[in-house]
Symmetry: C2
Subunit: 736 residues, 2 copies
């Protein structure tokens, strides 16, 4: 109740503020008071101190109860043990919103966590909203409300970027850097311990905040993943980009799932996959966080096909290199563009994309602007990068330079395609430059080629994700799209199932399929796992269980030689390692011998409930792994990869948090470094990627269906020969 | 003669300068004159203009011949056709050094190239030195000599970084950015067309220049590779780091060699390998170029084991992530360090590397400096990163802040390990910050975590390369190290040769080995290529040539079944593709049939001089490719890689420019993404990497031995089973 957007609206828009624990000896108090007074908070600021009548040169009250008039927000800087009493007094006085700067809570260990839980429980009980504790507060630059405990470096630029930080100390760096880029902030929030309000809450608030066009995040960990995902989905659909600097890339912690897949899924890999699925632009530096957010907030977004106009051959080449890094295209100019450029450029200029108008621009300053106008008309490009610098100080010839920038600004405003202005390198936009830009109507200048191209790449990717999200919402729901497994309404999948398995659990040959899984435990070896998959429409290699040698030979004859004979058992996850698998058996004699051998091997390895299975021997094709494991934060995560060196040596896997449909999975397959193998590299038959994605979506849907009790589900290998896709082995592990 | 270091010393240290083509209407002229006057050139600046008596408010002379007194440097801005006459006059007047700014030469096409060649020929003939044409000149900041055609943004900071640019327009960006980083320049040279002086010449000069501690390069292409390599080797040995931003990474041009190797060797990959071999730090942005050069120039270099001291948990985590990207370690602190830190930090601080001293630093400003002092004493680290910002403007409490920085500066000066100060993000060092730093004795502040960690990584790598270069010089030459193939002095290689091939050409079974290769042409298929390799000590699979079916059976019996039967022929490079290879033949009947089949296949494919070869059939082991191709710029380049998907799909190859000895090749093998396979991943027997590197060094030496006529030499596959290394197939292509 208290943490909903309505509560946040009140928190971030108080008309009056009380500083509780205000003191002349406290840097936090002086800083916060100075920020409120210095950045134009229009309402009353009340100071509360039980031991001083005058603080910061103004009257102080002994307690919140003594403050005259209503208080919309209490900013709490008292010692740790005094926080709860302050909340009690405030609640009695009808104060609903609090920023708690005080530390000594969960960040200090178990005792602190207990204190924090007590405070949060009280707040929930009384309907209070708390930001923090152990945070610096917030800066509502849009409204001029700055209850924030550290000095705010002047000038505080108002603008469209909402910033949410899971680090107090970084806020100053972010503000300083944003100012140096002339990028303004709507609301900056230092989260602290998130005892009540989480990043997800604030992101949800910013999605609806009209002053915010882009949301920039610094994340250590996402504390409420489901709420975060929901807020990010809303942001993507609403066209409000989210950029995130998430640390922990170097965290090598892995899950301990028994399946191979476990080793492929690092915490950070999952976060990466989640961000990609949500269209969140992930960056690795403060610079990229702010520059990308600034570009995304600035206006019409660049697409992936870029025209480049520069006065420098060297810079053009740097741009070409970086554009390729970021997956951007620099298409050849259309013939009409080439002709028009050739007509204005000196004879020794090379007319190409990226374009260098040459040093002749020193003689004819209009050359760059005229070339820009021509390139923006090219039909083969989405947007234009113009390499240009704002003056850092009063130029040699102010009126001429001003007229030049005004002319270019007018050209950009009239251009049929977005123009992104990028400087050569990342140097501050000076105070003079900021003023010059505003007065000439020049567009924002993105900070240098290196970070600018990164930002353009991120913007192009975000645009595509946004368009896909909008298109997915506009599409009528596809039959079986949400749960493609085992649906009678999806005959294509069944018809293409060459393994001849029926999807009806009732006639499953192993007869072990059940609709509820709460009682399942331990590890389910191949036959049981395969039966579950087959029952929900996943094509599985035909499998016969043989009770003795004679039955094994009979099954092999029915299947057709050569065959595979395996022993499976409870407690044995890796049967090949213990010698319980025999491949390519050519005749009855070999099957009899193999039956004895594999049975003995499984028994010797201590396997319980040993079963011997007979299957056809498959050769050729491409082997995939499709596994689902449970991530402690994000839930079920699908990993797909190619078998062999690809996963074992290269750890080449693409991840998706479930649910994920066939289109999403097809994209994941395309992300694999070994994707060329699926397309027929090395003489393999090209895989029918639609069919592969469809089958993997079914496997994923089985995992979802198995519910909260599932630890992991892995199909390894999943054999692909063209449109023939078939699970050759499977393993299910249940949570203990 | 004219382009040697002596000539460059005169070029870069003139005592008098004439501006030829000086004119009030020329921006270049006004700019150059202003630069010379404004940046303190102490000698006379003579103006030459045949049509004006007064230029820039001073007396002008009609011709160089009329200038009174000696002229050390003529700065030429006349029209293209007037350049040669100016040189004639200057040569007559005894002027030896020229900067030619004029364009219209090689950059404009064939006519211009002819004009340029004419000018260069004249200069060579008369012993003149020309920088350019089509360049902006140079800035000798160390000496205050600035014959440079574009405005130099003030202030011009003098310092230890020499800059050489193959782009005129980028010089301004480089200067602006370097100033914003408070990094000073010794000499900046804009190369222009390099018609006489090349980048290699200037690098060679800077290696010996006492004002230059680091050399920063912007490169489009290296015009004199051998001279460049020699200069870079001298720089590495002299301990003078070279940092290079080389464009053309996105150049997808590939060589058209027939061998597989050709596709692995892109121009840029070769440049990358050359730079790595030479210890040149390659960067991708102007920011990294200058920041890395500045760090390398600043003093004691950081090693790979970093201690990190910050006042911010968020920043610590960003640093940890970036450090892992750059191959830097953040070792755990020693117990004594932990104890000492725990004694000064607040109880809720986590004592770990990276260290966050916490926001308590707001209360106790000395905390960061005291923690720094403790961490610099830790024996397990090489150097310390201190996260700290210079003030951007007058701080709130100037004496206290000044005292704080002075105290930290003193701690850093006294520290037993280098301390690198890095700011959070990349914002300008302001004029105030620059002055504050100088007056407090604070060390240089590296520009932001993102670029700073990149620079520290580059510095650590450079240090290692430098130490290796020094150690290699100190070592006595190893027998066979320069040319390890076919040396009787290297019995280990021969003794380990399991193929039983003699290294003596005289007894080679195929009798085709020759000492001179000038007459060789076309493609040499397996047997001829293998004979060349075997003759120089490369172990090759035993091979018998069979003239008929009976001889084939006899050879197979001698070799032992199973065997391989292949037909080779001139003009057939890929014999497997045409069905001319039969593997795993078990008996005489199979050999007879195979003999007929492969012979027919080779004949049908139009092969000339068809031979049938019998070899043992090898199974298991790891297959490598070792190929040498000729790069048009850098000469013979060795590519090593793993067979199969590694080279075919992943293009996973490591390159080295020849010569490269076993140690260098062993490092190259370690760079492969599939390196784990060589160490025994996926159940393979671990390769004896010393033996593998030794054999590949022999292959490389064969290529070197074959000389200028060789186009490519490829061994594919090179079979490795532990210490057993054996070429199973080979191909030589000669230049046409």
């Amino acid at each position: 109740v208290s943490a909903g957007p309505a509560g946040l609206g009140a928190l971030f828009h108080p008309r009056s503020i009380a500083l509780v624990g205000a003191s002349d000896r406290s840097g936090w108090s002086a800083g916060t008071f100075g920020n409120l007074r210095g950045h134009g908070f229009p309402g009353p600021v009340h100071l509360v101190n039980p031991r001083s009548e005058i603080v910061h040169g103004e009257k102080a009250y002994p307690s919140l109860a003594d403050v005259p008039g209503p208080v919309d927000l209490a900013f709490v800087m008292v010692p740790t043990d005094a926080v709860l009493p302050v909340l009690r007094t405030g609640a009695e006085a009808g104060i609903r919103a609090y920023v708690v700067l005080t530390s000594g809570f969960g960040e200090t260990g178990a005792d602190g966590a207990r204190r924090e839980a007590e405070v949060a429980a009280f707040a929930r009980d009384r309907g209070l909203t708390i930001l923090g504790p152990n945070g610096n507060g917030y800066i509502n630059a849009a409204a001029g409300i700055t209850p924030y405990g550290l000095p705010i470096p002047p000038p505080l630029l108002r603008g469209p970027v909402g910033v949410v930080l899971q680090s107090g100390a970084l806020a100053s760096s972010v503000l300083t850097f944003a100012q140096a880029r002339n990028i303004g902030v709507s609301l900056l929030v230092s989260m602290g311990n998130e005892s009540m309000l989480s990043v997800a809450d604030v992101v949800g608030y910013l999605v609806d905040d009209p002053d915010t066009r882009v949301i920039a995040l610094f994340l250590e960990s996402v504390r409420q993943p489901e709420k975060f995902v929901a807020a990010a989905r809303r942001a993507l659909a609403a066209g409000k980009p989210v950029v995130a600097l998430k640390v922990g890339r170097s965290d090598l912690a892995r899950h301990t799932a028994q399946a191979h897949t476990g080793a492929l899924v690092g915490d950070d890999g999952v976060a990466d996959a989640v961000f990609r699925q949500l269209g969140i632009a992930r960056v690795r530096s403060i610079e990229d966080l702010i520059i990308t957010a600034g570009l995304l907030a600035a206006g019409p977004l660049p697409g992936p096909r870029l025209g480049v106009v520069t006065p420098s051959g060297g810079a053009s080449e740097i741009i070409a290199d970086r554009a390729q890094d970021e997956g951007l295209e620099l298409p050849a100019f259309a013939p009409a563009t080439v002709a028009a450029l050739a007509a204005i450029l000196p004879a020794f200029a090379t007319v190409a994309n990226p374009l260098d108008v040459t040093g002749y621009v020193v003689k004819d300053r209009t050359l760059l602007g005229r070339a820009l106008e021509i390139v923006t008309a090219d039909p083969g490009i989405d947007s234009v990068l113009l390499l240009s610098e704002l003056p850092r100080d009063v130029p040699a010839d102010p009126p001429a330079i001003r007229a030049l920038f005004e002319a270019t600004a007018a050209r950009i405003a009239a251009a049929p395609r977005p123009v992104i202005v990028v400087s050569n390198s990342l140097t501050d936009i000076t105070g003079f430059g900021r003023e010059f830009q505003a007065s000439t109507g020049y567009p924002p200048v993105v900070g240098g080629i290196e970070h600018g191209i990164q930002a353009i790449g991120a913007a192009a990717r975000w645009s595509r994700a946004h368009q896909e999200a909008v298109a997915a919402r506009a599409e009528p729901p596809r039959p079986g799209a949400a749960d493609p497994a085992g649906q009678g309404a999806d005959p294509a999948g069944q018809g293409a199932d060459p393994a001849g398995q029926s999807a009806d659990p009732a006639v499953n040959p192993l007869g072990e399929v059940s609709g509820t899984w709460a009682a399942a435990s331990g590890t389910w070896a191949e036959d049981r796992a395969a039966a579950v998959l087959a029952a929900r429409g996943v094509p599985v290699v035909p499998t016969e269980r043989a009770a003795d040698e004679a039955a094994a030979v009979e099954a092999a004859s029915a299947i057709g030689y050569p065959v595979v004979v395996k022993a499976v058992a409870a407690g044995i996850a890796h049967k090949t390692d213990i010698g319980a698998v025999r491949l390519a058996l050519p005749d009855a004699g070999a099957v009899r011998a193999a039956y004895r051998d594999v049975r003995a091997a499984a028994c010797a390895a201590g396997g319980d409930d040993v079963r011997v299975l007979i299957q056809p021997y498959r050769t050729g094709g491409i082997e995939l792994i499709a596994g689902v494991v449970r991530d402690p934060a994000w839930g079920l995560v699908l990993a797909v990869g190619l078998g062999g060196v690809w996963v074992e040596v290269l750890r080449d896997a693409a991840l998706r948090v479930l649910p994920a449909g066939p289109a999403e999975i097809r994209r994941a397959l395309g992300e694999l470094r070994g994707a060329a193998v699926l397309q027929g590299a090395r003489g393999a038959e090209p895989a029918d990627l639609d069919r592969v994605a469809e089958v993997i979506a079914r496997i994923a849907a089985v995992a979802t269906h198995l519910g909260d009790h599932l630890e992991s589900l892995e199909v390894n290998p999943l054999l692909v020969r063209g449109a023939h896709v078939e699970a050759l082995d499977a393993l299910i592990t249940w949570r203990s």
